[in-house]
């Protein structure tokens, strides 16, 4: 039996493992991927001070630190189920079953799909798939791509593709339908772009974001938006055109886009084809929470955090004894926040495992999550702090109801 088992070798899981191991606990980290690092592996961007955040290097140094501390790894190992039996957690994988008193779920996030006609053609992939092919496997997803969906992640990945010598024909929107509603509304997209504007060298976007602080101006911004779009890193961003079809005989050969008006409707006769050999779909991220659901955690839908999140407190404890969460399973944020959350989870586990005198450290680590969040360069949701406040209220509510039950 391991003192601690962690599902997920991403930044949250690795930093939690390192924190526990430093306190003398025996740690096993399980991950279904072939390399440690999770979604940190694919990340690559230039920080404001001019240095590069190189996800492969960051992952390697976390992993090596973990191995030095004697942490054990089971890679290529999907966890299918977890349950609590006789006071301890049982973790089921294809080959083995593991047991522990302290189980941390650090399973990260997944990408929301956006159905577009023709999207099952080989060559259509999620934008994260193209990121991993390019930066982790170093294989080109294609020679020339179109990215459908304009958001923080797709803007960052468009730049990464270009860096690797892959041509990005344009970033564009999916045609409005029920499921793609928000992602397809030029106005909503502009609003979300206000939060990447600091990353955009294009003065039009920077200037535009100042112009568009109120609703009226945002509508004007869309209406007066040049039809050919603006450019970010020299890539055209088409906010007045939407992809209505992906075509190709057995594989992607191109997309058909059309002009959309400020309400998101297609202007008929405006259809044009853009040739490409791959298409990326960027629908945004949501927390990957299945295992917490299987375990029986209560959930709350908090849009500011990217979807349903398991109820937990600031110490990363869930309502279930010995079950913890850290990283993007608690809400969509960058890797640095995930690392900071991993430290808190690790300290909470150590304290609950009987190591005393950690109270001050835990309080500091919670503050450090806040600080990291404030300084975050990439923010997936502008209101993430509001989301965290909502969750905190729910936790208080939960504690009150438990007290009532006890009395």
């Amino acid at each position: 039996m391991n003192d601690v088992i962690i599902v997920g070798a991403g930044p949250a899981g690795l930093s939690a493992g390192i924190t526990c191991a430093k306190k003398g606990l025996g740690v096993l980290i399980i991950d279904e991927y072939m390399k440690p690092g999770g979604r940190l592996l694919g990340q690559l961007y230039e920080e404001p001070n001019g240095s590069w955040w190189n996800g492969i290097q960051e992952s390697t140094s976390l992993y090596e630190h973990a191995v030095d501390l004697g942490i054990q790894f089971q890679l290529n190992t999907p966890v299918n189920n977890i349950e609590k039996l006789d006071q301890s957690w049982v973790i089921y994988t294809d080959k083995h079953t593991f047991n522990t008193d302290h189980l941390l779920l650090a399973t990260g996030a997944a990408e929301s799909p956006v159905p577009v006609p023709g999207w099952t053609l080989p060559g259509v992939m999620s934008v994260g798939a193209a990121q991993v092919m390019t930066n982790v496997h170093r294989v080109k997803p294609g020679e020339r791509g179109v990215i459908i969906g304009v958001n923080v992640l797709s803007a960052a990945i468009a730049m990464e593709l270009q860096l690797a010598g892959i041509d990005v024909a344009c970033l564009t929107l999916p045609k409005l339908n029920k499921i793609t509603k928000n992602a397809a509304q030029p106005k909503d997209v502009l609003e979300s772009l206000l939060h990447v504007s600091h990353m955009a060298p294009s003065p039009l976007i920077r200037f535009g974001s100042k112009l568009m602080k109120n609703d009226f101006m945002k509508k004007m911004g869309v209406t007066f938006y040049p039809k050919e779009g603006v450019k970010m890193w020299d890539i055209p961003i088409q906010l007045r055109k939407a992809v209505i079809n992906i075509y190709g005989d057995g594989e992607v050969e191109g997309i058909t886009s059309a002009t959309i008006d400020a309400n998101g409707e297609v202007v008929s006769g405006s259809e044009e084809n853009i040739a490409c050999d791959f298409v990326c779909i960027a629908g945004g991220l949501y927390p990957l929470t299945e295992l917490a659901a299987v375990a029986g955690c209560p959930f709350y839908l908090i849009d500011e955090l990217g979807g349903y999140v398991p109820l937990h407190n600031e110490r990363m404890e869930t309502t279930l004894d010995g079950l913890y969460v850290a990283g993007n399973i608690t809400g969509i944020e960058g890797a640095k926040v995930a690392i900071a959350q991993g430290v808190t989870a690790g300290l909470s586990i150590a304290e609950n495992a009987g190591i005393s005198g950690l109270d001050v450290d835990i309080q500091h680590s919670i503050q450090s999550i806040e600080l990291t969040r404030d300084k975050a360069y990439i923010q997936f949701h502008p209101e993430v702090k509001k989301g965290k406040r909502i969750l905190k209220e729910q936790w208080k509510e939960y504690e009150r109801s438990v007290k009532k039950l006890v009395h």
Binding site: E111, V124, V139, L163, A164
Partner: protein
């Protein structure tokens, strides 16, 4: 033209170059040991990993990180293996799944 990104301005040049052989649908290919099957196939220009069980339409990777199960192939006789998660090994025999018969639906289409 090489589909591999051998040089990169930030990530540096690729040093790893231990090529090994494998087969995909009975044809020989080469890939890098321990890269994902999906990456090895894409580096060989192959996007179609399987044909949909019901419609027969071609399918390739979608998420590339194990979430969507679009990339299932048969590896050394084991069905339903995710090509994006499975490290390539020398001598692997990889095959695409294909369209399956739908006798009940066909029967009801003819008889209703």
């Amino acid at each position: 033209m090489s589909r591999r990104i051998l040089e990169h301005p930030v990530l540096g040049n690729l040093q790893d170059n231990k090529y090994i052989s494998f087969t995909f649908n009975n044809k020989n290919y080469e890939g890098l040991e321990s890269e994902s099957i999906a990456a090895a196939l894409l580096a060989n220009g192959i996007r179609t990993l399987r044909y949909h069980e019901e419609s027969g339409s071609p399918r390739g990777i979608y998420c590339n990180i194990g979430h969507c199960f679009e990339c299932r192939v048969t590896v050394n006789g084991t069905q339903g293996v995710r090509a994006c998660l499975t490290p390539l090994q020398a001598g692997m025999v990889i095959e695409s799944g294909g369209k399956l018969p739908t006798p009940v639906r066909d029967w009801s289409a003819e008889n209703e």
